[in-house]
């Protein structure tokens, strides 16, 4: 990524999605949805790997081009390979033994122009985060109980 691109870099997020044995059902739908987001320039995929954790805790990391998971041509074209070996170990800490997980790292391209405008206006990011769905559900339930 060139320095000029990092000036306009949007917020970067990641997810680790676990696929327990016997539950996985790969139809290509995930790849198709991801490709739509990339094609629409909503996100840019910075990294995409598949991790497996053996029953003994041993971790295997597969690069997406070695997995044959769906058709990810648009996403693959822009992969920056952001994650380092130590990141793979840190991310796999969330996995249960005997499972496979997909790791997706993406840039929120849609947010970059707003972030740049905020910076130009003298704004400084002092906090950010994600509100867990569970917290929202708990809050709604508490509201309903109190209504």
């Amino acid at each position: 990524m060139a320095p000029s691109e990092t000036d306009e870099l949007g917020p970067v997020d990641y997810i680790v999605v676990d696929f327990p044995p016997g539950v996985s059902n790969f139809t290509g739908e995930m790849a198709a949805e991801l490709d739509k987001l990339v094609s629409a320039r909503t996100i840019r995929v910075l990294d995409l790997i598949v991790l497996t954790k053996g029953e003994d805790g041993e971790i295997d990391a597969l690069e997406i081009e070695d997995t044959g998971v769906g058709d990810l041509r648009t996403a693959e074209a822009e992969l920056a390979g952001l994650l380092a070996e130590e990141d793979v170990v840190n991310l796999a800490a969330a996995m249960k033994p005997g499972t496979t997980a997909g790791v997706l790292v993406w840039e929120n391209i849609w947010a970059a122009p707003f972030a740049s405008a905020a910076r130009r206006a003298g704004g400084q990011l002092i906090a950010d985060g994600r509100i867990p769905i569970q917290a929202i559900l708990a809050s709604i339930e508490a509201d309903e109980e109190g209504a």
């Binding site: 990641y14 680790v16 041993e58 971790i59 295997d60 990391a61 690069e63 390979g81 952001l82 994650l83 380092a84 070996e85 130590e86 990141d87 793979v88 170990v89 840190n90 991310l91 800490a93 969330a94 996995m95 249960k96 867990p132 769905i133 569970q134 929202i136 559900l137 709604i140 509201d143 309903e144």
Partner: protein
Amino acid sequence: MPIGRMRRGRRGVVGAPVARTAAVAGSAAVVAHGVGRRHDRRDDRRDDRGDRREDRRDRR
């Protein structure tokens, strides 16, 4: 652990071992419904404020 050569010997970005997130219990539809209800309540409060303002104006 077989891992791409480009990933070796580089500085990481994640920072620390990642804690497992609890499984999502509710569907997005449930959340949207709840958020919608809150929106309705906010509209109700706005209407109430408007009514009070009109009452005050009428009294004057």
